[in-house]
Amino acid sequence: MRGLLAAVAVLLTLPASAAAAAPWQDAGRVTDGLFDAQTELVLTGPRAATKDVARARAAYAGDLRATLRAADRDADAAIGDGLKAAASAARAGDQTALAAARGSVRAGLFRGAYSVTTEATARGDAATAKRWLLLREYRTATRFTRPGAHATLALDQLARGKTTPRAAEQAVAKDLLDAYQARLRELLADARRGVEQNLPARRAEAAAQAAGYFAILAPRYAQDRGEAAERDASAIFAAAPLDIEAANRALEGFTAAPFTPEEAARRAQQLLQFLSLVPVEYGRGVKDDHVTRDFEITEAVAFRTGAAGAFGDLRDQLAKRDHARTEAAARGLDELGRLVGTAAKQSDGVPTHAQVQRAAERTDAALRAAMPAPWTEKTDESDYDLIALTLDRMEAAAGAGQYRQAEQARLEAYAFFEFGPERRLRSFDQGLALDIEGLIWFGAAGQDGLAKQLAQRAPRREIRETRLVLDRKLSDAAATLGDSANKATVVTNSAIIVFREGLEGVLILAAITASMVAVRRRLRRPVFAGALAGLAVSVITWVLAQTLLRSLERYGEKLEAVVGLIAIGVLLLITNWFFHKVYWSEWIAKFHRQRKRYEKLEKRGFISAQALGLFVLGLTSVYREGFETVLFLQSLQLSAGTATVLEGAGLGLAMTLAVAGVTFYFQRKLPYKKMLIVTGVLIGFVLVVMVGQTVRTMQGTGWMPITPLDVTLPYWSGLWFGVYPTIETIGAQLVAAAFVIGSYFLAQEMKVKGPRRRRAKTGAAPTPAPEPERELVR
């Protein structure tokens, strides 16, 4: 009785034991046995090889076989046939036949595992799916792709109940189909290599495995191209020997794991962006038909290659929409490749910029006509690809000791960031935007910036360290901006942007008009008229930005620099005027009772001479902020629409006007002398900050050099005070400060000390006692 019970217990535990062995382990014993057989044919001979094959056949049993057969009978049949063929080949010592059998068996195991995994996922059985997912292929890591973990993570989420079985199945199928298609392409290349290098075993194994992988993709192929096409393609793959060219042609334009609509739109944006940059880079590298800068030609080639890659991914979908235009685009890309490729190989007699431009434009037109509308709408994601590509070129140039070219690439990468994702990013995460900017320029997050490193000709490995930190920050930025913001966020952020920029304008206007009280009150008029004009021009810029001037973004920084220079010029004049005509003249007027004469002088000629200058100052002070605000709001508008953004902008403007009203009211109540001092300090402060920021902008446009200082400054020093760690910015600020202080003392010398010394010499009357301050204020 006890023995019977023991036997029953053993029988009951047996299935559990069999089920406990992982599928990958069992499958590994099959493939290991076959590979050992192949190795033995090389090292010893058929006898050992035959034993190994027998071991492999024995391993294909039990739960592994039963589960595979239940999920995919064809896969099971392929494995069985392959194992039989392996046994024959081992006995005959036929390496080529054994290699082919190995390829078939491996593909069959993966094919069966694919069916089990996807079916288990579809019914919500995450545990089974996870076990069988370990029996799979992965994409080979390359420069632009890494083996992703989408299927693994999807099953984790399914197990935790955070996703539905259908969504998980789609993710798993997509990951696996993508991997098998990538490997299929590699196997066809392997088979070709086997032919070219006279490696029959290589050819046989690769061809057999390729046929097995195509069987995994076949249902998707049929779905995409029809049953008849699938039968034809399957016949090509099943033929022995495999017609490699025919197989490649059958796969042309087919994508087993199609992009989601968002992925397709992103890839389309990459395609259009890369294409548009080909003539830009090429134009910088040639003059007529001579190559003047190799680096730019290399950039043009890189962007053309990137465009071709993106086109390859989308070609099938495009062809379904508009076959003729897709073919035209393909021809256009080929032609572009020939044109830029010629310049990459020789220096003279190369295609002109105009030729390349025309080819790019024709291709662009064909693509846009073939694409659905959502594909042509700009997104941030392609900007990150451009930034990465350009930073790669920067690293390569630095590695080759070509620091000038590296700096050019760095500036380009920054331009892609600044006129791409930065504007939105600053709306949602200012700190992150500043970190990225700092890493591209002078340092942030405890790391030196790339501009500083390139200026100091730092070795590539140091630049690489900074790049790694920068890549992480850019990745965080992409994640931050990945979702469209909800309405409340966009309204809030629009309001904050307008208020923040508006406050800066208010400060400047307050500084300038603070002294315009009493008789000079009318001087306020041209200033405020200019400010209103600046507001109006900002609104016009917004309207134009929606229609004619989308490309203005590329010139945005240059325009910013120009406007900044005008504002500085006028502010320098006003500063000088302030100290000569206001500060010290008022000081004098208090003691000399010459105020009336002075007022007459001002009424007569001085005001008309300055009215234009004050108008321009008011306009540039406001428009400088307005232009930047327009660019910020435009980027928000992309994600939330005009109405939402205008709502926020209106709120921000209301707050700005409220603060302006409070400021100007408050200003009038200051004691006059104190007010003069405050005004003088404020004008000087505004001038110094404006100078720092404008020089920094000019460095970004390449109009001024960058000579970094070896100091680390907090991010707010640049943001609020225009203080950046370069000789040019700080030097210019010191010059501006010297001008302000010098102007003060010069005016003092001219208006007070000089005349006093002259009076002392001639024995003139001393200065009368000062009048009470309140009489000067009306």
Partner: protein
């Protein structure tokens, strides 16, 4: 009134100073945070430092031998024909010492290459010492140039091991002494590995080699291994086995005098592969606890596959050292299977990295 106004203004200014910060977590991958608490990465650093010190020692020896050869050549006025005819035995000894020093230095690096090439902050040294090409391939070229004592410049000449090996084994003509056949044994024929390197060039190359080896040693001491470094090392290096097997197939050990590879003539590439894999296995053992936490079965699979690959390389080397000659077809079959294993391992480790929310570097 004034106080109220001031407060309002201050409030508005405070609001203006705040940027919107409306991050959402929707795009954050739903992955397990890195389980670094129970991972001891010190063994990786110890392993690396042991090898960087060995490299410095062996490269200094190489440099010393190069200096002795240089002095010999200098004594003959750099007339290599005269050098060979009047000091044949000394030249033979000098070249033998140089070849021996190179053979000793090579594994000191190869065994740690997996870590050096896979860790982003050290990866450039792999380009400089072992993997970088010459200036004809700008993307992968070494960043340095050499200037010899005689003032001759060699711009981005290639990685140091390639420079030394091709010079002392005579497989790169441009690093050989001009105008004289390197018939070291005087039998009227030039057979491998007879070579008469340009002493001026060789001294410059080995002197710079010492500098960079010391630099790597310093950087290694400063390095603090992270989980990302360790995962990246495994993912990056493991699939490069195919390149090594490709080189093995083309090297002298397989193709004999038809070899296309100028390098790798001294030691079989199988030796490098085995050594590198040893390093990878060590690294994986360190990160194994963190992989087990997120996917125990995956961890077991990777451990098995990695050990299998290591054993395969070891077995092939044993066979080769035992006198077995592999044909190109054999090498291709065996190499391709090893590559397949390696890619699978890289894929598996990438899954674990994804589940641990680790960013793998290029």
């Amino acid at each position: 009134m004034r106080r109220t106004t001031t407060l309002v203004l201050a409030g508005c200014l405070a609001l203006a100073g705040c940027g919107g910060d409306d991050k959402t977590d929707e795009t954050t991958p739903d992955a397990t945070p890195a389980a670094a608490a129970n991972v001891d990465l010190q063994p990786i650093k110890d392993y690396l430092l042991d090898h960087t010190e060995r490299l410095v020692t062996s490269v200094e020896l190489l440099n010393r031998d190069a200096l002795e050869y240089y002095n010999l050549a200098k004594a003959s006025g750099f007339d290599y024909a005269k050098l060979l005819s009047e000091h044949r035995e000394e030249v033979q000894t000098a070249l033998k010492e140089l070849r021996g020093a190179h053979i000793q230095a090579n594994p000191a690096y190869e065994e740690m290459e997996g870590v050096v090439a896979g860790v982003p902050s050290l990866a450039d040294y792999d380009v400089i010492i072992d993997a970088g090409s010459d200036g004809s391939d700008p993307e992968n070229a070494v960043p340095f140039s050499l200037t010899t004592r005689a003032g001759k410049e060699f711009k981005q000449p290639g990685n140091f091991f390639a420079l030394v090996e091709t010079a002392v084994f005579g497989t790169e003509p441009k690093f050989q002494a001009k105008g004289v056949k390197p018939d070291l044994d005087g039998d009227g024929q030039v057979t491998f590995p007879e070579a008469l390197p340009d002493a001026d060039f060789l001294l410059a190359a080995t002197s710079e080699f010492v500098n960079y080896a010391k630099e790597l040693d310093e950087k290694a001491k400063e390095w603090t291994p992270t989980l990302e470094d360790a995962f990246t090392a495994v993912v990056v290096m493991t699939p490069t086995m195919s390149e090594y097997f490709e080189a093995w197939k083309n090297s002298r050990f397989i193709a004999g005098d038809k070899a296309e590879e100028k390098g790798f003539v001294a030691t079989s590439r199988l030796s490098d592969i085995r050594d590198i894999l040893g390093g990878i296995v060590l690294i994986y053992d360190s990160i194994l606890p963190s992989v087990e936490e997120v996917n125990a079965e995956q961890a077991a699979q990777t451990k098995v596959d990695l050990d299998k690959l290591h054993q395969l390389a070891g077995r092939l080397l044993t066979e080769e050292e035992g006198g077995k000659t592999f044909t190109a077809s054999d090498a291709d079959t065996l190499g391709s299977e090893a590559q397949r294993n390696a890619e699978a391992i890289a894929g598996q480790v990438s899954q674990a990295a994804g589940q641990l929310n680790l960013q793998l570097e290029d």
